[in-house]
Symmetry: C2
Subunit: 157 residues, 2 copies
DNA sequence: CCCATATGATTGACGCGTCAACAAAGGAAG
DNA sequence: CTTCCTTTGTTGACGCGTCAATCATATGGG
């Protein structure tokens, strides 16, 4: 007689799930709020600036930028629009492909990133690294891996 | 000589952090997407319906509802507005306090919740409970607790 | 060369969340 | 009763994200 696969969480598992998701959510939100108040950047702004800063010539094609951050092009386009209005970034035409564009980091953008960087790292340390024991940190890594695997498999059952 | 407290994450810790936050984010987003496609409800809709369903008389004052879910009143107000337009919920005047209102679950709302419930639980099981070993699940709970403690303390150091 | 289609990028509509401002009513103190 | 403060709830503006539609340019097949 084959073992029947369980399909639903128990009450206990459900409680753990809710606590887990609410806590990570609160963590994200606290990080975002600190980043915002310390440097007027959103996490999305930060991700874009970070990626551009590490790119050849401090500029990238939108598609490439989106791919590196793991966003859809549409999301990036909106984001760049907002950042351009604030002068963090500039759009230029692409020489080799007339459809294309080039997103360039401005000096204001680079400066904003520099200012945000240390406070941001400090916050990560204070809110994530510090509260966890080394063992818990390692466990967090394992859990991440396991969950990612579960996400990649759009499996039935 | 007192030990100097570390202030910043190492490269390794930073990598774990990024993986962790990205994965939980992807998890949230996948859950939301399934809920949406299976029942046309957002996680926020679901939370409101769930809370109302368990409430005395299937209705609550907005403040109380917001408190139970852990939201700000403003957020709830917007949410209720959208849900009211879709007929999931109804606003009534409050008898005992003329400032106040009462949010009432409609039968459409109750039905939508019933339809969403099982698929949602199945998704939680498939994406969270199933990929983790029992030990990892327990570890997740510990980590949640530790992180929550870190969040509650707006401490220096 | 010409058409079909693929690719790069943007746009608009809409849901979601935060913040700050506000209106309206309750309640306590004089 | 009047004044002041609190509580309840809503609103508007704006950033953020997704989805579907759109447009222009590349590109490969005839």
């Amino acid at each position: 007689m084959a073992e029947r696969r369980k399909a639903f969480p128990t009450t206990e598992e459900l409680r753990i799930w809710r606590d887990f998701i609410e806590t990570t959510e609160a963590l994200r939100s606290e990080l975002a709020s600190r980043l915002q108040s310390e440097s007027s950047l959103s996490p999305s702004d930060y991700a874009v600036l970070l990626t551009l800063r590490e790119a050849e010539g401090r500029s990238l094609r939108p598609s490439e930028l989106a791919a590196r951050i793991g966003w859809q092009r549409s999301r990036l386009s909106h984001q760049i629009g907002r950042m351009e209005r604030r002068g963090l970034v500039r759009r230029e035409e692409c020489a080799t492909d007339s459809r294309g564009a080039e997103v360039v980091l401005t000096s204001d953008g680079a400066e904003a990133f520099r200012d945000a960087s240390l406070p941001h790292l400090r916050a990560v340390h204070e809110l994530f690294v510090n509260p966890l024991t080394p063992g818990q940190l390692a466990a967090a890594e394992e859990i991440t891996t396991a969950l990612r695997t579960g996400l990649k498999a759009p499996r039935d059952t």
